[in-house]
């Protein structure tokens, strides 16, 4: 067991701040900071040995994000459960808003500009969907989960935002939402053959969905299937990424010695392709170590989920863990040419504020589940009714 039990807390969850702080899994916070620290070093290297323009900003964001994470963790989990649908509704509303009025950024409508801050509703939705599904399945008995009619609303909860995100267009996030939710359905006990039917339907829908993809998305998929197709376009990124990574060898070229990335022909080396740069400089050994660190983080998620007394807590912890895993896997598989290039950052390491804050918010929820692991939760999130 990774987490040392520190004795049971009161089942009614009425703890003081001090007591809650005592229950925060500080070793997890340390692990998160360690991985983020790797990111700071890589951003320093990406900027040719300079704190600006990336490392310094990322550190400030991370510090703010850790504060947010602790604050979220201290909020009673029952609050999140009670507000789960409301949060989901707000996120959905923002998604619709961004589809209608979103400002153009990176060739896609993804942002809402509030003047002082830009928010990306699809990021909020990742968390909101986890919460909403967890609440939905929290009160469900095993028999409920077996009924197709019971599952339909939950399916709607997933497909609605996924469709809105595809329209933006942000294929990567849509896939993430669907895969992450699929794992939640699975954990909630949905029968495997039902997944079979859905997957069959999904495969059948590919030709239809294909028509809704933007030209560049089609090109990415086609280029992935046949990199020769576009040797100077998307294929170029993957070719260069493989060269940089492969040339790193077993032990790497050394910190700030990655010729390929330092010579600037590794594209997006501070965001989506940062793992390539890391692997070029630290080799396979470094890459495996990073994978182990990520695996540890994921193991924490499992430990928290399994220790939680409520289905809601379990599903939230696992939902966050699954999304985290998907981020790591898709990004690394992408830079190594195993998956098409979709815009998915490497969690905690890639430069970028919104993704970092979303992630830390998610970890906050996860830690909150741990802090409130023994709290009794009724169907609607009150502690008394069972």
């Amino acid at each position: 067991m990774i987490l040392e039990p520190r004795g049971n807390m009161r089942r009614d969850g009425n703890m003081g701040i001090g007591e809650k702080l005592w229950h925060v899994s500080w070793s997890l916070v340390a692990l998160i900071s360690l991985v983020a620290g790797v990111g700071f070093f890589m951003l320093y290297s990406a900027a040719d040995g300079s704190m600006s323009p990336w490392a310094n900003k990322q550190i400030v964001r991370f510090a703010f994000g850790v504060g947010l994470m602790i604050a979220v963790a201290l909020v009673d989990v029952r609050f999140w459960m009670r507000q789960a649908y409301l949060i989901y509704g707000v996120a959905l509303f923002l998604l619709i808003l961004v589809d209608l009025f979103g400002t153009i950024g990176m060739g896609a409508q993804r942002w809402i500009n509030l003047g002082f801050v830009q928010i990306q509703p699809s990021e909020i939705m990742k968390i909101a969907l986890v919460l909403a599904l967890a609440r939905y399945f929290h009160g469900a008995s095993h028999e409920d989960v077996g009924r197709p009619l019971f599952l339909l609303p939950a399916l709607g909860l997933v497909m609605l935002p996924a469709a809105l995100v595809v329209v933006q267009p942000d294929l990567g996030t849509a896939i993430l939402l669907i895969l992450g939710s699929g794992a939640t359905f699975f954990l909630a006990g949905v029968r495997l053959w039902k997944f079979g039917i859905l997957i069959a339907l999904g495969v059948g829908a590919i030709p239809i969905g294909w028509q809704f993809l933007r030209e560049y998305q089609k090109n990415r998929v086609l280029t992935f299937l046949n990199p020769e197709r576009d040797p100077l376009g998307a294929g170029y990124h993957i070719t260069q990424s493989k060269i940089a990574l492969g040339s790193g060898g077993l032990f790497g070229k050394g910190y700030m010695e990655g010729t390929q990335s330092q010579l600037n022909y590794l594209p997006e080396k501070h965001t989506d392709f940062i793992f390539t740069m890391f692997s070029e400089e630290f080799g396979m050994v470094g890459g495996l170590l990073l994978l182990v660190l990520y695996a540890c983080l994921i193991a924490y998620g499992y430990a928290i989920a399994l220790r939680s007394r409520s289905q809601f807590g379990r599903l939230v912890a696992m939902g966050i863990t699954n999304i985290f895993f998907l981020y790591v896997f898709i990004n690394i598989a992408m830079v190594m040419g195993l998956l098409p290039v979709v815009g998915v950052p490497l969690p905690l390491i890639s430069y970028g504020g919104t993704a970092m804050l979303t992630l830390l918010f998610g970890f906050g929820l996860m830690i909150g589940v741990y802090v409130h692991r023994d709290v009794n939760m009724g169907r609607r999130g009150a502690s008394d009714d069972v």
Binding site: S141, H142, A183, F186, L187, A188, G189, E215, D230, P231, L232, G233, Y236, T239, K242, I243, A244, L245, G246, S247, G248, G249, L250, T259, Q260, L263, N264, Y265, S279, G283, M284, G287, L288, L291, Y294, A295, I298, Y302, A305, L306, Q311, R314, M318, N322, F325, F329, I332, A333, M336, L338
Partner: protein
């Protein structure tokens, strides 16, 4: 609570399964790492260490355009240019500053290059300057150390050896604009050019070919070490036209300084041998890029050098239209060929007076003499009897009033009015006076020289609806088969009626009193049949009629009549049809017919079936190649 425990058990079991799946996927990542970083390390290390692989697209050579005998009309020349790869230059502006020490660059050019560099992906080279001299090339190479990211590239540029004589047929190539981008990566190559007009545009895709690419090993400074792999694309197809370059030269020269056009076509196959529009412009200047001054000169030139007058110049056909009126009258049995009209120099209709070109009148004329003398009064009379709708119908069957779908962009349809047209477009009823005016090819009537040539060809070939065409063959690689001559439908017209019109046209050129007697062919074996036309551009007022109509030379150029002439030859076995229009040239017989005579004479002389012509051909084709 067994249900709860049940649920917990399901959760735990499935969480374990998921964890196993994740472990498996992570193992796959580790395996991939091992594959890339251990097994394939050597390969990637060679690619990466100091040398960089640089993939470059190879622009295929653009296909040549030839005349019917293989004389090159559009070819490629080597062109040295300086490129700049933005990502290789540490500071683009500083590099440009250094470069302008060698090749002077204006501020305007610099901002243009900077803008271009921002727009493109950073590894795509931007053109700094094209058409460098050897001297420039040497100095750039010498100073390469101070010019990071710069390189010299040998490209090809389009060259048109015959310059302005073929500008309208060939068109020109020019840089790719934002709207032209189709996703073909070739179009994004620096300095790539595509066809923007004429044959270059119509056959652009075939002429362009398919791009290849080359994998180059490049060191950190951007210098090419060696080529690793090369995939030749496919060179552009060679397009052979039906044009006879030497004949076109002759016709263009014959048109001289005037604003004029001349089309010669084969009456059976529709092959266009001459499509000359004067004045032309120099397409080489377009390929290199025009400056604002040159462009302004071209578009403001009163004789419209940018316009291909053969297909886009629309003129009232004047008296050349009279064949259509005569045929309409004969086909509908409105009159017989012997039908007589007395021409006193004018006719009256209601309150209006319609004049004949000959003020004192022609006396009694029948149809043959009507055509021969081009008597306006005769055609007023028969047009009145046939009616505009039947005249218009006949004209359309002969190819007027609609595009002929020649394989060239920018063809204009002309206009053949009828009652319905006027009602729809001018919202008023047709008046009989307008029929009279239409009977002599004036009024709303508009035709292009190409249409007049096609009309004449259809008269000459016995009523086959031949369509003009310019492409002889498009040869890709080893395949080269001439495009088959399409079969054309018959116009369905009474041969006897056609014979009468043709006899009239023969008299125009060959009988005393014919309007083009002076332009008969000097070779007695070849008889040319034709019809003159003089299209009025301005309106002649009543008062001017009273005081005497002004002579053309007294008028400003813009108000002078257009001179027209259409013809075919030889009479016994028609082969070629010709149409000549000289804008504001004056009378058709005095200005257009002599040009047509000379061009037709040369055409027949160069005809492969003519005696001794084959040798002459071979000779002149050789000479053209050498030149």
């Amino acid at each position: 609570m067994s249900r709860q425990a049940d649920r917990n058990k399901v959760f735990s079991r499935r969480a374990t399964l998921l964890a196993g799946g994740k472990l498996l996927l992570f193992t796959a990542l580790a395996g991939r790492m091992y594959y890339l970083q251990v097994i394939e390390r050597e390969k990637f290390a060679t690619l990466a260490e100091e040398n960089r692989i640089s993939l470059r697209l190879l622009a295929p050579p653009r296909g040549r355009i030839l005349d019917r005998f293989g004389v090159p009309l559009a070819i490629n020349q080597e062109n040295y240019r300086m490129l700049l790869v933005p990502e290789q230059a540490t500071d683009i502006e500083a590099t440009l500053e250094a470069a302008s020490e060698i090749i002077p660059l204006s501020d305007h050019e610099k901002t243009k290059i900077l803008r271009e560099a921002k727009r493109r992906r950073s590894f795509m080279p931007v053109t700094v300057r094209e058409n460098l001299t050897w001297n420039d090339v040497a100095r750039v190479e010498l100073n390469a150390a101070d010019l990071p990211g710069c390189m010299i590239d040998v490209g090809q540029s389009r060259f048109y050896p015959k310059a302005d004589r073929f500008s309208h047929v060939l068109g020109y190539v020019s840089v790719v604009s934002e709207q032209d981008l189709t996703g073909d990566p070739l179009l994004e190559l620096p300095g790539f050019r595509i066809g923007k007009a004429g044959v270059e545009r119509v056959h652009d895709l075939a002429l362009r070919g398919k791009g290849g690419n080359t994998q180059l090993e490049v060191n950190a400074l951007g210098r090419v070490i060696r080529e690793l792999a090369r995939n030749e694309g496919q060179p552009g197809a060679e397009v052979r036209l039906t044009i006879d370059a030497a004949l076109q030269d002759f016709a263009y020269q014959r048109l001289g300084e005037q604003s004029a056009s001349c089309v010669v076509m084969d009456v059976h196959s529709g092959q266009v041998l001459v499509m000359a529009s004067a004045p032309g412009y120099d397409p080489n200047a377009f390929a290199q890029g025009l400056n604002a001054e040159q462009w302004k000169d071209l578009i403001q030139h009163p004789r419209t050098p940018l316009l291909n007058k053969c297909i886009a110049g629309q003129y009232a056909p004047g008296s050349t239209f009279k064949m259509m009126v005569a045929l309409a009258a004969l086909e509908h049995n409105v009159v017989s060929p012997d039908f007589n009209v007395h021409c006193s120099g004018h006719v009256e209709l209601g309150n209006s007076v319609f004049h004949c070109w000959k003020k004192e009148g022609h006396g009694y004329v029948d149809m043959l003499r009507g055509i021969m003398h081009s008597c306006d009064v005769y055609f007023y009379e028969i047009a009145k009897r046939v009616g505009i709708d039947r005249i218009a119908d006949m004209a359309k069957r002969f190819g007027l009033g609609n595009t002929l779908d020649i394989d060239l962009a920018g063809e204009k349809p002309g206009l053949v009015p009828n009652r319905e047209w006027k009602l729809r477009n001018l919202r008023s009823a047709w008046s009989q006076g307008e029929t009279l005016v239409a009977g002599i090819g004036q009024g709303y009537m508009l035709t292009t020289p190409l249409q007049l040539a096609a009309m004449t060809a259809r008269i000459a070939n016995g009523g086959i609806a031949v369509r003009p065409r310019l492409t002889y063959e498009v040869a890709t690689g080893h395949e080269s088969a001439p495009l088959p001559t399409p079969t054309y439908p018959s116009i369905q017209i009474n041969k006897a009626n056609l014979a009468i019109v043709r006899k009239g046209m023969r008299m125009v050129v060959n009988e005393p009193g014919g309007t083009a007697l002076g332009s008969r062919l000097p070779n007695p074996n070849w008889i040319m049949c034709g019809k003159t036309g003089t299209a009025q551009v301005r309106r002649i007022t009543m008062r001017e009629r009273d005081t005497g109509v002004k002579k053309n030379d007294e008028l400003p150029w813009k108000e002078r009549d257009h001179a027209l002439f259409v013809a075919y030859a030889p009479d016994d076995d028609p082969k070629y049809a010709i149409a000549v229009i000289v804008e504001h040239g004056g009378g058709g017989s005095a200005v257009a017919a002599p040009i047509a005579r000379d061009v037709m004479m040369e055409t027949l002389r160069r005809d492969p079936v003519s005696e001794g012509a084959r040798d002459r051909f071979a000779y002149s084709a050789e000479k053209d190649r050498a030149g």
